[in-house]
């Protein structure tokens, strides 16, 4: 192992890692709200709105992320949507992960016993209040787990944003390997950074999960 090289390139990789974190956090943040919107749309009685949400989820989950990136980045300008690469990464990332997240949220909500909903509704609670006071506390554990996985997926998938020339962690590592011919050193270093980022995320998930499990007395 060439430790001098590793020390030399660390600042470069840290900078790239920051871009990875930045894109991921922003995508996750916006993606969560879009996902909630999608879940909400699916509860509409007016069928075409439901179909729209289902169709969106189907198409977004069905097509590769990098194709979505390329189409928005290169197709966007022709409809007046000229995004810089990082913004494009955030936007596409958010709209992409939202489709998966809405399914995760829906699944968690459906895992709650229907008797609980009935009991709440029979007290006169509306749908929203039932969701907030009864369903969410009981489905939080599963929801946190499944959204947590998606957060991790999002961080890992942010490497695909390099295709629109964003220099994030993976692409920076590949470029440095291209010039130094030291794959082991550089991959180890970048793997280490991913471990730190994702481990931190896993820690947050675990804390949130433990909190949520307090409610799930079986």
């Amino acid at each position: 192992m060439d430790f001098n090289l590793m020390i030399e390139v660390t600042p470069l990789l840290v900078k790239a890692a920051w871009i990875t974190i930045d894109i991921s956090i922003r995508s996750l943040f916006f993606g969560f709200f879009i996902a909630c919107g999608l879940v909400f749309l699916q509860s509409f009685q007016f069928a075409p709105i439901r179909w729209f949400a289902r169709g969106y989820i189907s198409v977004i989950r069905g097509t590769p992320y990098f194709v979505q990136l390329l189409l928005v980045f290169y197709g966007g300008p022709s409809i007046g949507l000229r995004l810089d690469p990082i913004t494009c990464g955030v936007v596409v990332g958010a709209f992409n992960i939202a489709a998966y997240m809405s399914e995760a949220i829906r699944g968690s909500i459906e895992s709650v016993d229907s008797g609980q909903v009935e009991a709440s509704r029979s007290l006169g609670f509306g749908k929203v209040q039932t969701l907030v006071s009864i369903i969410l506390p009981q489905s939080a554990a599963l929801m946190i787990r499944s959204i947590g996985i998606l957060a991790i997926v999002l961080i890992k998938n942010s490497s695909l944003v390099s295709i629109i020339s964003v220099v994030e962690l993976t692409y920076q590592a590949q470029r440095l390997i291209g010039s130094t011919y030291k794959p082991l050193e550089i991959f180890t270093l970048s793997a280490f950074m991913y471990v730190i980022i994702i481990y931190a995320v896993m820690g947050i998930i675990e804390l949130a999960y433990r909190r949520a499990m307090r409610y799930t007395t079986l």
């Binding site: 189907s58 198409v59 989950r61 069905g62 097509t63 590769p64 992320y65 194709v67 390329l70 189409l71 290169y74 998966y100 399914e103 995760a104 829906r106 699944g107 968690s108 459906e110 895992s111 016993d113 229907s114 554990a141 599963l142 787990r145 499944s146 947590g148 996985i149 998606l150 991790i152 997926v153 890992k156 490497s159 993976t170 794959p183 082991l184 991959f187 970048s190 793997a191 991913y194 471990v195 994702i198 481990y199 896993m202 999960y209 499990m213 799930t216 079986l218």
Partner: protein
């Protein structure tokens, strides 16, 4: 930009072969990651923490690092000692990767099965293991279907990462064709359509499973 789909037609058989390879990998990985994920979840919940610790560390490793790096380490890193063919490296890497994700889901859903179910089964004389197998796991599985669907749909598209180690799946096939023809968007659109087709089948499967299990909750 004008579109010219003639190169796509020329390379269509190669693309189809790519779909075939990708689907084969996906099917094996789906099986491996679901069964393995269940095993891991069950072991880490029910078995002594010390026994399951190495396993959890292994899962943790696959959870925290990108698939691409895992494949590189398995393919080139292990290359110093053993040469595993690329496609097996791909199946192993993807399999363990999604095993970790699925295990995480199963942990949550297994814990959400009420204790009364466990007791009812034990009181019939079923052992701990048999109870988990016949009673807990099926109920947990039913609750996991939407999240599993998510994971498996992600997984199908992640088969494209295998192109990095030279497995000739769909994206690999198209990369070659693109570098010859310089018609990227035409190919990307066709790739997207092909993945979407696969996805439709998977979604239909999920909808069917959800409907079949709706009254078993």
């Amino acid at each position: 930009m004008e579109f010219d789909f003639t190169p796509v037609i020329t390379y269509f058989p190669t693309l189809l072969k790519g779909v075939g390879v990708g689907s084969l990998v996906a099917v094996i990985v789906a099986f491996m990651s679901i069964v393995g994920g269940l095993l891991v979840a069950v072991i880490s919940i029910y078995i002594n923490k010390i026994v399951s610790w190495p396993l959890r560390f292994f899962i943790w490793l696959f959870m925290t690092t990108p698939l691409l790096l895992q494949l590189y380490f398995l393919y080139f890193g292990l290359g110093e000692w053993i040469l595993i063919p690329a496609i097996f490296v791909g199946i192993l890497g993807l399999g363990f990767h999604y095993m970790a994700y699925n295990a995480d889901i199963f942990v949550a859903t297994i814990k959400s099965v009420s204790n009364g179910q466990y007791e009812a089964s034990r009181s019939l004389g079923f052992g701990h293991a048999a109870t988990i197998f016949y009673i807990i796991v099926p109920q947990a599985f039913i609750r996991s279907i939407p999240q599993l669907g998510n994971n498996m749909i992600l997984m199908v598209k992640d088969t494209s990462v295998l192109s990095a180690i030279g497995v000739a799946e769909l994206v690999y096939a198209s990369q070659y064709a693109i570098s010859v023809s310089f018609r990227p968007f035409e190919f990307f659109i066709v790739i997207a359509a092909m993945y979407y087709l696969i996805n439709i089948f998977m979604e239909l499967g999920q909808v069917w499973l959800e409907r079949e299990t709706a009254y078993r909750r």
